[in-house]
């Protein structure tokens, strides 16, 4: 699963040609009328809707709203997840007591807590943020636990010999050791955060791309809908690819 782009000239060009063919086929299907225009607008119509949305429409604000919501929730979840994960990871006792509870919380579909959050807090921006944090914390938390639990026993002995304090152990040995796991977890968390940001916007009517595409679909404005979907795909692509680059850099630096 850890594949992404590689840039050896020819292969990249071939890939671009493939993408052009994909868009071309999309165009042909759309103009042939095999699929109703209301369901499949042409790539040009989508592009025009995108340009219109970004220049005169509020697509920029919507994009910003979604991205900020996603990043705020994700950063908060990462901070709490790493702190809790470190605390649980260094202690075999805590792990013994908490693992089944954590496994259960992780398996719970995060969107299922949305109704509970609505009942508790109401349809507010805080509720959406809370759901994003709750949902996206698990991959980072569990990866951190894993990273701290897998510290080489010899390093543990070294830290004992050096009389490192618990905090010193976390900071100087545990954390550097767990960084690759943590970043992998954070990458998965970011994907979850994006999904929950969209869900939150759709349900709580918060301003963002999620709400925008829902409205576009209700009014059968297919080009706007497609422009929104493409933009959300780009957000997903850029965020996961960015973290993949960080992940690779860290992996190289460790060797």
């Amino acid at each position: 699963m850890k594949r992404g782009f590689t840039f050896p000239g020819l292969a990249f060009l071939q890939g671009l040609v493939g993408l052009a063919v994909f868009v071309g086929v999309w165009h042909l299907i759309a103009v042939s009328g095999a699929v109703p225009r209301a369901f499949l607008p042409s790539p040009e119509a989508t592009w025009n809707a995108f340009v219109r949305g970004v220049t005169v429409g509020d697509m920029r604000e919507q994009l910003l709203g979604t991205v900020l919501r996603m990043i705020n929730g994700w950063l908060l979840a990462s901070l709490v997840g790493i702190a809790l994960g470190a605390a649980i990871g260094i202690s075999q006792t805590l792990r013994n007591y908490l693992r089944p509870t954590l496994a259960f919380a992780r398996a719970l579909p995060a969107s299922a807590v949305v109704p509970v959050a609505i009942a508790l807090v109401g349809l507010t921006p805080g509720m959406v943020l809370g759901v994003i944090v709750f949902g996206s914390i698990w991959p980072t938390l569990l990866a951190t636990v894993q990273g701290f639990a897998m510290v080489d026993p010899r390093l543990v002995e070294v830290s004992r010999a050096l009389h490192l304090s618990r905090f010193g152990f976390i900071w100087k040995i545990g954390l550097p050791n767990a960084v690759p796991d943590i970043i992998t977890g954070m990458r998965l968390s970011l994907t979850v955060a994006l999904i929950l940001a969209i869900v939150g916007e759709m349900l709580a009517g918060q301003e963002g791309l999620g709400k925008a595409i829902l409205l576009a679909a209700r009014m059968f404005r297919a080009p706007d809908l497609y422009a929104g979907i493409v933009l959300l795909g780009l957000v997903g692509l850029v965020s996961s690819y960015g973290l993949l680059l960080v992940e690779r850099r860290v992996a190289r630096w460790r060797r």
Binding site: Q14, G15, L98, A112, I118, L120, F220
Partner: protein, 258 residues
């Protein structure tokens, strides 16, 4: 899951949380329409099982999870095989795939709703989209890592691509496909419940939403617990199945991903 020697200890935390919840309601006598004590949640279970809705909605969600996963598996395995066998096809397709894959599945919800309306079809389409990618990628990577000598053997025997796929590649890729299946069932459940909560009026997610809107927190929390138990149970069931199926092969890829 490394180094868990917990046994009974793992049960203490949930038990204490339940008792604390119950005690808090008993002591403070809180009667609200947002939360309910564990005893009321048990009542919620009894109620929802008694009037038949719990079984019916669970079956609806299961049907969607199953249908969507089958759709995703067929698409992912077929395309993954094609990309694995014809390297040139892979080189032309990989950028397109990398562009389509990160589209968040919920972003397709309005589109699917517009095309199919409410019901199974729109939900299965979204679940299928979400589950196709892990199948595609794990199939592709399994094929591209098949021992090259096995493929030479296939050539010597004069196997066509279909026979090679069936007799050599699929058995070799089976452990990874099983991993894909386990990941995808989990993803499918998440996507199905999300779709039901956001719009589709059927299944567990919708029932959760209804319970919240009609101010029946005991019922809402009963459904929340049920959804969690199903997610957790399916994952463990498939893990057990996986280690049983490949018990003779040793090393299994149980990496926590998705």
């Amino acid at each position: 899951m490394s180094g868990w020697r917990g046994g009974w200890r793992g049960l203490i935390v949930p038990a204490v949380l339940l008792l604390l919840g119950e005690a808090a309601f008993r002591v403070f006598g809180y009667v609200g329409d947002t939360l309910a004590p564990p005893s009321a949640i048990f009542r919620g279970f009894a109620e929802a099982i008694g009037d038949g809705t719990m079984v019916a909605t669970t079956l609806q969600t299961f049907a969607t999870v199953l249908g969507g996963t089958v759709l995703g598996a067929v698409f992912g395995v077929v395309v993954g095989c094609a990309l694995g066998f014809w390297n040139l096809l892979y080189r032309f397709a990989y950028i397109t795939i990398e562009c389509l894959r990160p589209i968040p599945s919920v972003a397709l919800l309005p589109l699917s709703l517009m095309i199919f309306g409410f019901g199974y079809k729109m939900e299965i389409a979204i679940v299928g989209f979400a589950t196709a990618w892990p199948f595609l990628i794990l199939t592709y990577s399994a094929i591209s890592q098949v021992e090259p000598r096995l493929l030479e053997v296939a050539k010597v025997f004069g196997f066509g691509p279909f026979q090679t796929a069936w007799k050599l590649v699929l058995p070799a890729a089976a452990p990874r496909l099983m991993t894909a299946l386990r990941l995808c069932i989990g993803i499918a459940l998440v996507v199905a419940v999300t779709t039901e909560i956001v719009s589709n009026p059927q299944g567990l997610g919708h029932e959760l939403m209804i319970a919240q809107e009609t101010l029946r927190p005991h019922r809402m929390l009963a459904y929340l617990v049920l959804v969690g138990v199903i997610g957790w149970g399916l994952n463990n069931l498939l893990l057990a199945l996986q280690s049983w199926m490949f018990r003779h092969r040793g090393e299994i890829d149980t990496e926590v991903a998705a």
